[in-house]
């Protein structure tokens, strides 16, 4: 491949047909902003953020259910920090804490094991959200619960898988010409999972790492391969064609494919995972959490997630909706498109 200098000048001077490139990983959204990459591209290369932040695509029904659980007298919800502020249909977990919701923040799902052992008389529910990247950790958690016979922990899951939603995006109205494929997801799944979409829609997918240089090379490869239905692995140091088969097997053992509800997109057939029926005693009622009501009717997170508008085109952006007072999920997470644009725009 060309050296970085040549790539940088190619991308700045590119004057061919316009190309619209979507990244579908929240960490890529952050890395693009952090490295100031948009300022390095010609106007003919347009970057769009897709539904790649797990917090941003979690429907309000899920948050409402978490709040309901956290208010039960003997139950504590255990979660990652950024889920605390995501609005449900009426309030966020953090707001619910004001009226007695019991919520504990952790850095790793496995922390719940120690917490549950310390308080055997209480029940704990882990807010298990995420994509293919995080699902193996939840499978490991379930494996530990089963092996150590821990009975006071359940999971409320909102687990999503990428290929099905990519299919929705490709057939939607966002006019996407190319995809930056999520590096972390592909570590687990292998680069092969994007092959069907690439071939079906004749679009290039380049699996990318997260350094600025990785992303510039990825964008270069996408421009060079516009119109080609293929997957290119530009993150070969950690991503293989098959992925991590051990992790995949563990996920298969505990989870089954299911439909999933995406905030702003709706129900997407086969785009999620649920705990298998034989382990249903560990499920805190994850099936059927579908409805998605907006806290603020004018919130356009749904259009932002689909790549139909940029964050600035939402009437609330930067006004009533800001990181201190998020109206929609895209403004909550540091990986959400609106939050990234607001903080690093």
């Amino acid at each position: 491949m060309k050296d970085l200098k040549e790539i940088i000048s190619f991308l700045k001077e590119y004057d061919g047909e316009e190309i619209r490139i979507m990244e579908i990983c929240g960490s890529h959204t952050g890395a693009i902003a952090k490295n100031g990459i948009e300022a390095m591209l010609s106007e003919k290369i347009c970057l769009i953020s897709g539904p790649g932040c797990p917090v941003c695509v979690t429907p309000s029904a899920y948050i409402d259910r978490l709040i309901e659980l956290s208010l039960e007298s003997d139950t504590t919800v255990v979660t990652f920090g950024d889920l605390l502020r995501v609005p449900g249909s009426r309030e966020s977990l953090r707001e619910a804490q004001g009226r007695g919701a019991k919520v504990k923040m952790v850095y790793s799902p496995m922390d719940i094991i120690g917490i549950a052992k310390d308080s055997p008389d209480n029940k704990f529910v882990f807010a298990a959200i995420g994509f293919e990247t995080t699902t193996p950790v939840y499978a490991l958690l379930l494996d530990t619960l089963v092996k150590e016979k821990i009975e006071n922990v359940k999971l409320l899951t909102a687990l999503k898988t990428m290929p099905e939603v990519v299919d929705v995006l490709c057939s939607g109205g966002a006019k996407i010409n190319a995809f930056i494929a999520p590096g972390h997801v592909c570590v687990v799944t292998g680069s092969r999972i994007f092959e069907p979409a690439a071939q079906k829609y004749h679009l290039p997918f380049v699996v990318s790492g997260f350094e600025g240089e990785d992303l510039l090379r990825t964008i270069y490869l996408l421009v060079q391969n516009k119109g080609e239905g293929k997957v290119i692995n530009n993150y070969p140091s950690v991503v293989s064609y098959e992925g991590n088969e051990k992790a995949q097997a563990l996920v298969e053992k505990y989870f089954t494919k299911a439909d999933a509800s995406w905030r702003g997109i709706g129900n997407v057939t086969g785009s999620g995972r649920l705990i298998r029926p034989e382990f249903s005693r560990y499920d805190a009622g994850s099936a059927g959490l579908e409805y998605d009501e907006k806290k603020n009717k004018a919130c356009s997170c749904d259009k932002v997630i689909m790549g139909l508008i940029s964050p600035e085109e939402c009437p609330l952006f930067g006004k009533i909706c800001n990181p201190g007072n998020p109206q929609g999920a895209c403004m909550v997470s540091p990986e959400g498109s609106c939050n990234t644009r607001f903080c690093m725009g």
Partner: protein
């Protein structure tokens, strides 16, 4: 004295006397304090600088420092940033029952030693004991004098053509505390330090300093964005020039926190007219705690970008930085 603090130590009776006699008095012996009057009467200057800060850090003792050292540095550095000479501080201790006496002794000894280093005298103090789980909170207030008349050093003064200097590596204190809380073993040390020597040498040099700010909570990004807004200018910084210790950089990658938003407790940013930048840098580098100082960018006037902080990235891109939002939580995937 008992091994742990109990409610009796806050009663005002004999146990309180024991606490003062065995821990506080030996550490802070000076005439003003030992007079045990209701308030301290001290010498002053025509104008004085005053500040106060409360310290609630956990753990109480961390790599490179402790709450005792920290509570002096925080207050002293705030006084120094206005060009004042810190002279007096007061300390209000709130002890939770169950606090280990040894821990308290260590923190108090460290406070006294840091005060000595910073050239301030602890002239008044107070102790309360509350129910709890062995915690310790300290409030310090400080007074600084202007023996040579007050200085016009302010956040408002940064101007077109100034260069931006930071006095050392970014994020060390923040990373130290985070690593303790996450139970990650690292060799990262807090940078908590009083910047007395550095600032007094800068002031004595006669360099027309426009702004000095200590880079604490919110980190470099927050501080510079606020300075750009206060002075109605644009601050340009170069990512490559920002000093960050290798271990802190790696820690930041691991936790997903941006080092630009990680706080320090012994670092400052200075803006001076471009022609004085080399001289100022030389003075800072030659002072205690300043060996890694660097020029990281410049201040410009640009009506279209007023109040902005722009980072030129390593790759050659540009990124606009806002103040820190939220709590800097680790990423989830």
């Amino acid at each position: 004295m008992s091994d742990v603090i109990t409610m009796a130590h806050g009663s005002g009776g004999s146990a309180t006397g024991e606490l003062i006699d065995e821990i506080f008095a030996p550490a802070f012996s000076n005439e003003t304090l030992l007079a045990m009057e209701d308030s301290a009467v001290v010498d002053g200057s025509k104008k004085i600088a005053m500040t106060t800060d409360s310290f609630v850090v956990t753990p109480l003792i961390f790599n490179g420092g402790d709450i005792g050292r920290l509570c002096v540095c925080g207050t002293v550095n705030d006084l120094l940033m206005r060009g004042a000479v810190p002279k007096y501080i007061t300390c209000g201790f709130i002890l939770e029952e169950g606090l280990e006496t040894d821990t308290l002794k260590k923190c108090v000894a460290s406070l006294a030693e840091t005060a000595k280093e910073a050239g301030v005298c602890v002239v008044a103090g107070d102790t309360k004991v509350v129910e709890g789980h062995g915690g310790l909170y300290i409030n310090t207030a400080g007074v600084g004098l202007f023996p040579d008349g007050d200085k016009d050093i302010s956040a408002l003064n940064s101007a077109d053509g100034d260069e931006i200097i930071v006095s050392g590596t970014m994020g060390d204190h923040h990373a130290t505390i985070m690593a303790h809380r996450l139970e990650i073993d690292t060799d990262i040390k807090s940078d908590n330090a009083p910047l007395t020597e550095m600032t007094s040498r800068l002031l004595a040099s006669g360099i027309p300093i426009h702004t000095m700010r200590d880079i604490t909570r919110g980190g470099l990004g927050t501080v510079l964005k606020e300075l750009a807004q206060s002075s109605n200018t644009v601050f340009y910084i170069n990512e490559e020039m920002i000093p960050i210790a290798h271990s802190v950089r790696e820690f930041a990658r691991l936790t997903g926190i941006d080092p630009v938003y990680m706080g320090n407790e012994g670092k400052m940013v200075v803006t001076v007219p471009g022609e004085f930048a080399d001289k100022a840098l030389e003075i800072i580098r030659g002072s205690r705690y300043g060996e890694n100082a660097a020029v990281i960018g410049e201040v410009k006037k640009d009506e279209n970008r007023t109040g902005k902080l722009i980072m030129r990235t390593k790759l050659g891109g540009e990124r606009s930085l806002d103040i820190l939002r939220g709590e800097g939580l680790p990423r989830i995937c």
